[in-house]
C-alpha cells in the first residue's frame, strides 16, 4: 500500500513529520555515529543567540519521575561561530535545517539574528524561541504575553520570507490565545510545548537539585499536558502545529498528531535512545498501513470527541 508521510509547514516540505527538538540534538553532529541523519523530517538546532552565552553553572540537569529538569541557560557559541563551525556539517545532510533563535534584548537582537539568517540558503526555516524559561532574569517570557508575542512576530515577519515558526510556552493561562497572536502576526506555524517550569529539591543538602533553582521539566511526565495544549491550539488557529513534549515512541507521537499536530518533534527521548526518531518514522508508516490510511495528513486533529 502506498502511504504518504510528507507534510507541509509553511513553505517547508518535510518528507516525514518527525523532527528533533531544539536543545536535545546538539548541532546534529553528536548523533552521527548512531543514526542516518538524512532520514529525519527536519532538524531544529540548539537555540542560538547573537552573542555567545556561557550558560548556567552545574548541576544543570536532574532526573525526576518519568522526566527531567534542565537549566542549561542557553549555552551557545553565538551566531557567527555557529555559521562558521556548525552550519557546514548541517548543510551537507540534505535535511531541512530549522534555526532556533532567542534574544535577551528583544526585539533588536531578534531582528539582527533573523536578518543574518535570512540570507543563508541552508537555513530552511526560523524558529523563534520566545519561551525559554532558562534565560531571562526578568520573571516573564515573551510567550507569556499575547501582545509582546504579536509584536515580535510581526517585526520579524517584516524582514524575512523564510518559514517562521513560533515556539510557545506551556507556562501560561491560555496557550491558544498566544498561538492566536502568533498567527495574527504572520507566523507560519507554532511549535509547542517548551518545558514546564519546575523544581526539585535535594533533601539531604536542602538545596535545589539544579544550581539556579527553577528549571524546565521535559519528558513523558509532561505529555498529557502537551497533548491537551496541542488540542486547544488546534481548535483555535489554522496554521500548522509542531507538537512535542514527552514523545518516546510511535504511540505517543500519534497522540500529538491525532490532537492536531501536523509534525511532531522528539526531545528528551533522543537522550534515552538516539535512534528513536527513526524508529518513530517507521512506526508511523506501519500504523498507516495497518489502519489503511493513505496519508498521514488525514490523521491530523482527527481525535473523536
Amino acid at each position: 500500500m502506498k502511504t504518504n508521510l510528507s507534510v507541509e509547514i509553511g513553505k517547508l516540505k518535510l518528507k516525514n513529520p518527525v523532527m528533533v527538538s531544539s536543545g536535545t540534538f546538539g548541532y546534529a553532529e553528536e548523533f552521527k555515529d548512531f543514526i542516518d541523519l538524512s532520514k529525519l523530517g527536519a532538524i531544529v538546532t540548539k537555540t542560538i543567540t547573537l552573542k555567545p552565552r556561557r550558560g548556567n553553572p552545574a548541576p544543570r540537569t536532574c532526573e525526576t519521575s518519568a522526566g527531567m529538569l534542565n537549566s542549561i541557560g542557553l549555552e551557545n557559541p553565538g551566531i557567527e561561530v555557529f555559521i562558521q563551525e556548525k552550519l557546514p556539517f548541517l548543510k551537507k545532510l540534505g535535511v531541512p535545517i530549522i534555526m532556533s533563535v532567542a534574544s535577551e534584548e528583544e526585539p533588536e537582537e531578534f531582528l539582527e539574528l533573523v536578518a543574518r539568517l535570512d540570507i543563508i540558503e541552508a537555513v530552511a526555516a526560523i524558529e523563534l524561541n520566545i519561551s525559554c524559561p532558562n534565560v531571562r532574569e526578568k520573571a516573564s517570557l515573551i510567550a507569556q504575553d499575547p501582545e509582546a508575542t504579536y509584536k515580535i512576530v510581526q517585526e520579524v515577519r517584516k524582514i524575512t520570507n523564510k518559514t517562521l515558526i513560533t515556539k510557545l510556552s506551556p507556562n501560561v493561562t491560555s496557550i491558544a490565545d498566544i498561538a492566536q497572536s502568533a498567527e495574527d502576526a504572520g507566523s507560519d506555524a507554532v511549535s509547542l510545548i517548551n518545558t514546564l517550569a519546575g523544581m526539585s529539591i535535594d533533601i539531604k543538602q536542602r538545596k535545589p537539585k539544579i544550581s539556579v533553582g527553577i528549571a524546565g521539566l521535559s519528558g513523558p511526565a509532561i505529555r498529557p499536558i502537551a497533548v491537551k495544549m496541542v488540542w486547544e491550539v488546534f481548535n483555535k488557529v489554522k496554521i500548522p502545529i509542531i507538537g512535542m513534549g514527552g514523545i518516546i515512541d510511535t504511540a505517543s507521537a500519534l497522540e500529538f498528531i491525532l490532537a492536531g499536530a501536523t509534525a511532531v518533534s522528539i526531545g528528551t527521548a533522543n537522550f534515552i535512545n538516539p535512534k528513536i526518531s527513526l524508529e518513530i518514522i517507521s512506526g508511523l508508516k506501519k500504523y498507516l498501513i495497518e489502519n489503511k490510511i493513505g496519508d498521514v495528513n488525514e490523521l491530523v486533529g482527527s481525535v473523536k470527541i
Binding site: G23, T24, F34, G55, A58, T61, P274
Partner: protein, 266 residues
C-alpha cells in the same frame, strides 16, 4: 573514535562484597577501541523509570569483553544488579575522552594513580594499560594510592597488587593503612623529593580531586583528573554535564571525563 549503540549480553555478573558488583559484557566493538578513562552509558530497562541512561566507567577489557565495577546507590544501579548472565542491556560506548597515556617504554614508581572510593573503577583499566607489555622491574613499579572511608569500603587493593603495582592505603578512620585522607598521603609523599610523582592520574569525589589538583599545581607535576557530573545524554548533545575550565564550560561526557588539573577552575 566511533561510539555505538548496542544490545549487549551480560557474560558475568558477580557481587564482590556488600553493594559492589562486577559485570561483564561481550562487546567486541567496544573492547577493540576502548581507552582507560572512557565510559559506557547504560539503559537499565525499557521503562520511563529510571528515564535516563547511567554512565559507568570501563573497568577492564579482555579480548572481546568489557568489564564494569559499580556500587548500588539508587534506582538504576539496583535494577542493574538484578540483571543476570545471559540478559541483554542497551549500551552506548565507548564514550568520552580517556587518560593520555604518554609514550614511555617503561613504567615507574613516580607514576602515581590516586583513587578515592569508587574512583578505582577507571584506574584499574588504566593500570592494566600502563603495565601491559612494559617492563615493570621491582624497583620501578607504578604506585597506587587508594583511599576509603573504612577498611570495609576499601576496593581493588589486591587487584592492583596482582598487576605488580605498589599499593598504599589510606582510610578515614585509620582501620587500615595511613590514618587520614588519601590526599594527605599524597601530600606527604610529594613533600619528599625522592617520591615526588612524575605524573598523577586520579579519580574520586570532587573534594579529593580538588585537593589532588592543589597539590599537583603547587608541586608542579601534571595531574589528569577523571570527573563526574550528572549526565542526561552522555554524547555531548544536552550540555548538561559541564565543568568550569580556563576556557569556559566543557562537557564532562565529551571533552572529559578526564581533564588536566591545570585547566580546571574549582
Amino acid at each position: 573514535m566511533k561510539a555505538c549503540q548496542l544490545k549487549l549480553k551480560i557474560s558475568a555478573q558477580v557481587r564482590i562484597k556488600d553493594n559492589y558488583w562486577h559485570c561483564e559484557f561481550s562487546a567486541p566493538q567496544i573492547a577493540k577501541i576502548a581507552l582507560p578513562g572512557q565510559f559506557i552509558d547504560i539503559r537499565v530497562n525499557d521503562l520511563c523509570e529510571p528515564l535516563l541512561r547511567r554512565p559507568i566507567s570501563i573497568h577492564g577489557v579482555s579480548r572481546a569483553k568489557i568489564k564494569i565495577f559499580y556500587a548500588v546507590v539508587g534506582k538504576a544501579t539496583e535494577i542493574l544488579a538484578r540483571k543476570r548472565t545471559g540478559e541483554y542491556l542497551d549500551i552506548i560506548g565507548p564514550l568520552g575522552s580517556g587518560f593520555a597515556l604518554g609514550k614511555q617504554k617503561t613504567v615507574n614508581s613516580k607514576q602515581m594513580l590516586v583513587a578515592g572510593g569508587m574512583g578505582v573503577a577507571p584506574l584499574m583499566f588504566l593500570a592494566e594499560k600502563l603495565t601491559e607489555g612494559r617492563k615493570q622491574r621491582a624497583e620501578n613499579r607504578i604506585t597506587v594510592l587508594i583511599g576509603a572511608k573504612t577498611k570495609k569500603q576499601l576496593l581493588c587493593a589486591d587487584d592492583f597488587k596482582k598487576l605488580g603495582c605498589i599499593v598504599k592505603i589510606a582510610t578515614d578512620d585509620g582501620s587500615q593503612g595511613f590514618h587520614g585522607k588519601v590526599t594527605d598521603l599524597l601530600h606527604n609523599l610529594s613533600s619528599d623529593f625522592r617520591s615526588l610523582p612524575s605524573a598523577i592520574y586520579a579519580c574520586g569525589p570532587k573534594p579529593m580531586l580538588q585537593a589532588v589538583a592543589d597539590i599537583s599545581n603547587q608541586r608542579g607535576f601534571p595531574a589528569q583528573l577523571s570527573l563526574e557530573e550528572h549526565m542526561s545524554c552522555g554524547i555531548g548533545a544536552c550540555l548538561g554535564c559541564v565543568v568550569k575550565t580556563q576556557a569556559g564550560f566543557k562537557r564532562v561526557c565529551k571533552e572529559g571525563p578526564v581533564f588536566n588539573s591545570r585547566d580546571l577552575v574549582w
